[in-house]
Amino acid sequence: MASSSTAAGGGNMKGYFRQRKKTGGITKSNSNSKSKKSSSPDHSATLASDIAKPSSLISHASLDLQDDYDGNEEVLRQFDMNMAYGPCLGMSRLDRWDRANALGLNPPKDVERLLRVGKLHSECLWDGRV
């Protein structure tokens, strides 16, 4: 079924919601309906349907798929997750590295290099999320 929601209309609210014939399946009521729940799999967000991201909402921005996650951050996250250096919550990464060094645990030097150069996140990956 072709989706018709690629904002063909200008400010037309109906363009945001896929219209369906009343005879087929569960109908989605018209644009006054605020319900996002839908029992038809074609409407589900798991298919990354355009209903989830109406194009006008993303017309001036880029999709947030990257999430600041690159190779360096991956190295730092592995350092966070390594239990040998203790829990990562509650300390900045550099403090945790310094403490691991002071305790004689020999933390990896490239982590130190990345942290001191400093463009990356100074807090652990759970910071602000728990």
């Binding site: 239990m83 203790g86 829990p87 919550l89 509650g90 300390m91 305790l103 004689g104």
Partner: protein, 371 residues
């Protein structure tokens, strides 16, 4: 009767001592409580103490293997090292306020939360195991001590303890014995100036004795051997009735500051004659959590004019003539007394030496600001 001359030939001189403060680790610079996790403290403590205990194991039971809690096998004799956790039935928990019914536990005694059913659990990074057996008596131990235990795992999953090793007393340096010279440090605490039970005459008597205004020449010789005075907390008692959050009338404001002013007058007399260290205590106007920061200089306008007056942290550590002193105003010992059993407080202090930790119950039951 001989005339008392102000400048007699044998003017007694007070003995001198080299003083060095070791309080830097207790000073809070920019650290704030940001909702830190206690897990960091326990990790650091376990790591440092475990390294220490591992170095002692070869002298204790060298033939037995050391393993972590997860590596325990049933029936295998081994040694495990970890932090003790004492599960206490009567320990006050904030969640009790929300429990629908107060269960049949007896009324909480405010002075001691011990119960015959308390049990000990040993925990390291990999896991925890319940400790069984009669060797480890729960009433002596508290949460937060790091020990090594030897024994084996039972069928039920507990660890049957056969022997325990504490960190023990640290190595003492040999002090060269110097002939003849006796020097004394005076420790005072609980002056509670401003409380109904404090007697200003008694404090004045102490001041007179320290400064050498009391007694004949023999007494004055003894007083001249005092090289340091340390006031270890609870020096003032602010009238609590005024501290209820309401705005204070000006006469109440002066009542609030009376005890500190009175203390300052007396401390000025001491500071004029001997080096004086003052530490904050539980009732003093300082922060609540350990390490308590020094009382502010503005509280002591008279005494702080002297360079012999030092306001110090709690805990306080200093070195006098190469002998190291470390002490607190007692909150740690009081807390230990609530959670363990001992003949007297000196016994508890000895235990903190043997455990090599002055405040094992921090941050569990003793307020502590971790850095």
């Amino acid at each position: 009767m001989e005339a008392m001359e102000l400048d007699s030939e044998d003017n007694l001189q007070r003995k001198q001592c080299l003083y060095q403060s070791l309080d830097e680790s207790f000073a809070i610079r920019k650290e704030m409580y940001r909702g830190q996790q206690y897990s960091q403290i326990y990790f650091a403590r376990l790591h440092l103490m475990r390294t220490l205990l591992y170095s002692l194991l070869p002298n204790w039971k060298p033939h037995l293997p050391v393993c972590t809690v997860l590596e325990l096998e049933e029936g295998k004799e081994c040694i495990i090292v970890g932090t003790l956790y004492k599960h206490m039935k009567l320990k006050p928990s904030i969640l009790d306020e929300y429990s629908k019914e107060r269960s049949a536990t007896p009324l909480v005694k405010p002075h001691n939360f011990m119960h015959p059913d308390d049990d000990l659990v040993l925990e390291d990074e990999s896991g925890r195991v319940k400790l069984a057996g009669t060797v480890l008596i729960p009433s002596i131990y508290v949460t937060g001590i790091v020990v090594a235990v030897q024994g084996k795992e039972t069928v039920g999953g507990d660890f049957l303890v056969e022997d325990v090793l504490e960190a023990g007393l640290p190595h003492q340096e040999e002090q060269p014995l110097e002939s003849g010279e006796d020097k004394y440090v005076v420790f005072v605490s609980g002056l509670s100036v401003g409380s109904s039970s404090s007697n200003p005459l008694q404090f004045q008597l102490l001041v007179d004795h320290i400064t050498g205004h009391l007694g004949d020449e023999m007494e004055q010789r003894v007083a001249a051997e005092i090289v340091q005075v340390v006031i270890a907390g609870n020096s003032v008692e602010v009238p609590h009735g005024l501290l209820n959050g309401q705005n204070l009338a000006s006469k109440d404001q002066s009542r609030l500051s009376e005890p500190i002013k009175e203390l300052d007058i007396l401390l000025t007399q001491i500071a004029a004659s001997v080096p004086l260290d003052i530490m904050p205590g539980l009732n003093d106007p300082a922060n609540f959590a350990l390490p308590q920061q020094p009382l502010h200089r503005c509280l002591f306008p008279g005494s702080s004019a002297y360079n012999t007056f030092r306001s110090c942290t709690n805990p306080h550590s200093f070195e006098l003539d190469n002998i190291r002193f470390l002490g607190t105003s007692g909150q740690n010992i009081d807390d230990l007394e609530k959670y363990s059993d001992a003949k007297d407080k000196l016994d508890i202090m000895e235990r903190t030496l043997r455990w090599r930790h002055i405040a094992p119950t921090a941050p569990n039951t003793l307020a502590f600001l971790c850095g």
